[in-house]
Point group: D2
Chain length 482, copies 4
């Protein structure tokens, strides 16, 4: 550990070494080194603006921070010697820059500094998650385009329900991850507020030039209340919620695909490169990745609940409990990003077994609802039509027939409305194309949604580009203010 804690003075006794290790957060928050440095650079710019440091001192500090960053990236700093990333940056800077570095914490506290680091980190993380989610959306859209004509059974309660286009099925997940994008954009905005100036909890005792620092760090707003700012982590909780929702939807997609991948369904073929084998059973080819993603969804949800339980009943302003937030954040975001990535690659390489699927739609009376609709169009009320077709289906099952194999004369015993045009009405293609209501699976609807999906993706890419522009760049700051 460093020779002297930054808070030495009041507390004379040396910390217990186990206590020191326990309270240290460096092994976790070292991940924030770049953010801590950029935040310190911007803060120094602000200190110069209000005359706490001179132009010359600012130059020394900025080039010192540049050196610290380089040393960290070369692996030349012993992280374990420090209590946290803030102490590390301040002390390493002190070694290099001397006296001016001792001024950098003027009017600042680790309480507003850590929020700054986290917000900067989260903006990058959110933008990165969004980038990956867009890639997933593209693959869904492409896959849906490839299978645009193919009809499969839709299931409810895991029972065959009605025929649907494979594209329509796939696009149902486009909607889910599209909402996920909406949440990510909101998550980003929740991070757009400069916390510096809040200091420990009551606000800085200096006339901090928050307008300038905000501009340098590219934040859109400044803190409204210092006590709220240092004591809240709602931005993290909201992001963990956004990530959890992404994972829940991935887990549902995985569940579908695991079932479609059983020998019994055989609707899809997962590329060998994305399967694993068994150490004992030579014939096995397991959809390992899909299962792992499903499992990891539970882990990310657990992270969300940890952070919510952590804040429940916590006194306001800063309490050290909050130090645990970072591990939960880092775990959830890295796992989710990895899952989106690998799932996208796997999905891109999935093949739908057209032959099997085309065979599958022949059984299960998928056209029963359309048969009832046929009767309604002929004049029957829906409730009656539903009962009639129910009885016809029972007859078919008992006699091992399909609906199309029923004779008209036999059908007429159930309802006078049955006629020769019945058989055309219950063809799969007819069923599909009858679903023209908004959101339905008719081919023309799906084609239009496919086209729309490309525009949605373009829009997301444009919005994401503007997010990336709202993330500050250390080199640019240094070159502008040195």
């Amino acid at each position: 550990m460093e020779k002297e804690k930054i808070w030495k003075g009041m507390i004379e006794k040396d910390p217990d070494s186990a206590a020191e290790k326990f309270t240290s957060s460096i092994l976790t928050d070292k991940k924030l080194y770049a953010q801590d440095i950029i935040g310190s650079a911007a803060y120094a710019v602000g200190l110069k603006s209000i005359g706490i440091i001179t132009s010359a001192e600012l130059g020394i500090i900025l080039s010192g921070l540049k050196t610290v960053k380089a040393l960290i990236e070369k692996g030349e700093i012993d992280f374990t010697a420090y209590e946290d990333i803030h102490s590390l940056v301040e002390y390493e800077l002190l070694k290099i820059a001397g006296e001016p570095a001792a001024k950098i914490h003027t009017g600042r506290s680790r309480n507003d500094q850590i929020v700054t680091d986290e917000l900067l980190y989260m903006k990058e993380s959110i933008a990165d998650t969004a980038l990956k989610t867009i890639k997933l959306l593209k693959i869904i859209s492409e896959k849906a385009y490839i299978y645009r004509g193919l009809v499969m059974p839709a299931y409810t309660h895991m029972q065959k329900a009605q025929p649907v286009l494979v594209s329509h099925y796939l696009l149902s997940f486009f909607e889910k991850f599209s909402r996920g994008m909406g949440r990510l954009f909101e998550n980003f905005e929740a991070c757009d507020c400069l916390p510096l100036g809040s200091a420990a909890c009551t606000g800085s005792g200096y006339k901090i030039d928050t307008g300038l620092i905000k501009k340098v760090l590219k934040f859109g707003k400044t803190s409204s209340n210092s006590m709220d700012t240092v004591g809240g982590r709602e931005y993290i909780i909201e992001y963990l919620f956004g990530l959890s929702m992404l994972m829940i939807n991935l887990s549902r997609f995985c569940e579908d695909l695991i079932i479609f991948n059983t020998q019994e369904f055989s609707f899809i073929e997962i590329d060998d490169a994305f399967c694993t084998g068994s150490s004992i059973m030579p014939q096995k080819k397991n959809p390992d990745i899909l299962e792992l993603v499903r499992g990891k969804s539970a882990v990310v949800i657990g992270n969300l609940f940890s952070v919510m339980a952590l804040f429940k009943g916590l006194p306001s302003t800063y309490n050290s409990d909050m130090q645990e937030d970072k591990k939960l954040l880092f775990n959830a975001e890295s796992q989710t990003k990895e899952c989106i990535d690998i799932f996208s690659r796997l999905l891109a390489n999935i093949v739908f077994n057209e032959k099997v699927i085309m065979q599958s739609i022949k059984s299960g009376f998928l056209e029963a609802t359309d048969a009832a609709d046929y009767l309604v169009r002929k004049g029957e009320s829906f409730r009656n039509a539903h009962h009639i077709i129910g009885r016809v289906v029972r007859h078919c099952i008992e006699n091992n027939l399909s609906l199309g194999e029923m004779q008209t004369v036999k059908l007429k015993q159930y309802s006078k409305y049955f006629d020769n045009d019945f058989y055309r009405a219950i063809q799969m293609e007819s069923c599909i194309n009858a679903k023209t209501a908004v959101g339905g699976t008719a081919q023309k609807n799906v084609d239009s949604k496919l086209k729309e999906s490309l525009k949605v993706i373009d829009d997301y890419e444009a919005r994401l580009k503007s997010l990336f522009e709202r993330i500050p760049d250390f080199e640019l700051i240094v070159s502008e203010y040195i």
Copy 2:
């Protein structure tokens, strides 16, 4: 139970009576009766528009629905006779309206119907929660205004930190619940999409006039994908998240107040009308309500966890697991609304013990940071100033002195920069008013935030008004289309 299930026909055997009771949702979803009726009314309007029913039939249906509503509200219908609210409304309507009622389910499924009911219900619930939250914001703002001059200790780690205005402390919760309002507005938008037309999962087999139905039900959008629509409940999960965040912030407020209410702190006095006594200890006056709200926050978070765990790994489209969503929703929203209400009333009646608080700020070296800032202004670097004041404080503790009681000559032994103006610099008022950075506790900052809070409340009220206008009214629909 009703004589015949609406799905009779295919399944011949009567349900096992325990199974029937188990699968029945009527005791929960009866809460949705008004929504089911209004949704059916709008759907009937849509059916008339595409010629499934005539104008006359529409009239019969609408007035029939009016009667069903009246019967329910008079308590004249035996709920337990039905499987769910949809069956109840359809069968009761059938009794009154006869044949036309048998057409009302044409092209509709309980799968899109329940989503409609839930979305309509949620819009009302969210608007109501928002109304209550605005009331809480008003009380916070008023309370903050009342105590605008009073200085209290701010705590971090539950240790005395720096002086702060009571108003500033209270306004830190204004920020928290203000973000809560933001979430509620988003929650409302997530409910603004018409699901009708999605039918069971692949879309309706009829040319449903979704444009008209959307207008009647005052939705802003229509479903993009039928499979997604019937299989998702993200709007509920998001609302439960919004409610959980409100509860977490309430629980933190409660924790503060419970501690402030201990005899040892005695910062506040809770009105007797909001306290309870002990069955055994005659002297007790317990802050029961604050504890209950804190406890209920754990319950609402648990509801969120339930619904997230429920959807994790669930196959897409509709599965009956989803039937459990309503109980969780109803519990979370009613508990949260009740908590906001009662907490607001209690807060409105809290008195801050000015005498005790004014005494409290005299100890704990709340001015130590400002003392360090003093040295910085004189020319010391902050890091040195921090160490110097740390040592001075230790000296004070050992000699039972306050900072203000130190002699200048003694102070000069610690730093040459100490001078006579030190004493004024560390007066509470000076400390407070030095915090002029954005978000700080200086009186002028707080006064400006107080003014701003009124505008924020006005803005919320205006936005809420427009939400209420986006909730359909049954009577108006009936009078327009009958």
Copy 3:
């Protein structure tokens, strides 16, 4: 509400009516009326023993309590008039028994009284859950016996793995619920400690005859520490954990059966009486119950989470947050019991489609592991044997052959160890009966486990009987002490 709170005296002002409603727990804890009455009866017996009340007064109290119980059960008491069940019983008793009733709270507090009520309630609830679980174990055992010869594919990763007896599969759940029984027995023991005598938190100020009260209430132990006793609810948390584990295992069973019930698998037939239909699709027969049980498992886990989050960070001894425990307990136990019940009935009525299952084991190379074992017995190392069979299986897939259809001469190209006895070695029956290691699926193992299961059930029934004997009976107490 009752005219006067039992804690009137110190708090002069009347409670705010919303506050009164909010803090009231009567609508929840009325479920504990029988326990509150029996606890009060036993306490009165104890008070008589130490001379606080006379024999005559005890008689009046006991018969008064009997009347209160009868009035409650006849629905003649207005619950809403009271704050909680303790106040209700005490005041109603006062009306009937007069002065002696005013002594019943001597040396007792609602803090130890509620623990008493809960523990008594839980003992009954746990015994009842155990009873239902035993019934489920019986049905599993019976079902396993019925299908003792039938071979099905075992799955790992939802991929066909190796052949297994249906009985073996079913008995895997016998183990899971057997562990569930173990937890219930532990849950019961955690409730076996008399809390009376702890009073509000520091112990009763009277020489309470806890030995006698313990005997009357049939507790095995007495409290060790009054502060711990009134401030803990570990027995509830543990029971909710036990219930959650039961539900998790039920949910896994449901997941299996839902998949086995798809048309694609068609391994089982669920009795019509336990299925529901669709409001729109006439052909549907949905495994509603299995899905609901799976969904409810998430609800019960959420209840556990709520109670754990509630206690996290709570100060020791009694806090009103704990009042929420009962709703969580009542919900979790009633849902779980109902789920076990209905699932048992459904399971009892499931039929395995032997024809389909026998067809299913022909594909998927279930015998591949045994083929490798064959080579090992001939002299190959296992790792080599595994690779060889892997390549043979690939050859079979490419040439649309089963392992048994490979020619010996062809096989010998893969390994010299292949011979004519290979074909017998890979027959399903051979595969099954090779699994003689403890816990394996060989018929003789399974038969022995089936026999053992009956003994296990007998043992559980005997132990459960002794639990029921440890639950006190009000009538017996009255008749003994009146």
Copy 4:
């Protein structure tokens, strides 16, 4: 990654490199290397017993495993080259031992192997947690002994309730952690069942000598059902529950101490070595460790919920989702152990401020309940006595008196039963020593509990010793069977 996967043969294509990284568990399960090696050693002993390998081969394998272990411990093996710890040990052994190593996986699967590794690991982890918990119990007992005479206020609802011995307060946590020990002992037993012989899921195809392997690995039982064994992780879930309960109780202790440590309470002094300072406020001394432990309790609870959500709805037998269990286990157990350790050290160094506490008991009417009890002993009913004292207390508050300062003549206006002996009855010592009911705070009760605590600790130490004896030792196995 290793040249060839152990499951190569069937799956021809090389894995996608991202997929390979994603599915690899080596960075987590390397922590199980010692268990994997000892499990393999015992399995080899078993294979020799049934003739799969010769004595000579066993010798080669055992000494090979010894070498592998040494290489790992010297850091000479590149973990990242392998898929998981099982592959690593098998391949590294192959390099050293050649052909015999290729036989070690005969009749074994990674599915039963990982359970073996986990159970062996957990036994050690549980014993270690128990060791630390016993140490904590000792410190509580010692601390309680040190402060045996000191009286403090007991709080309910964070309001002063009644006087209590500090020892009694401390011993309330002895009870909580004592129950924690009970759970740990149960957790250990849940790990006491040999899984080897279960193979992939249907049992091993060899006559595995499970009796011998069980003996070598010191398990008490063998698996009852292979499908259950490979598909369950209840032992982990139960342990995470046990750990969560320990953490919840630690968090409550921390909450108490954080409040007792406020300047306003000042009941305790935390040693400087266990406090941290502020980067900005020179006077701060924060109870960082207590807050961190409280925060980490939320993390451990979240781990429990992750694993429960993971298993909810999972098909039976092995699914790769289960691979996530280890990270959750390792995190929860290491965090909990670290928390118990550091909390124990902190507690051992806490000093109670006797002067402050003795002052504190003078206010708050802690003797009010005893005052009521006084009246009851004189002949008043408790309910009346409670009301009388309530009114007296109100009078005292209004007139700024303590109960002892009331004149007898004034008291008699409230009740004729008041007399001169009242003052002695309400002395703190009298109050304390009146609490003689079992579990009460009377000095003699507490003294007896203190004595008992030593015996309890002795008993735990003896039981723990026997647990350690049930953990196998690699060196001993090698030396016995080589």
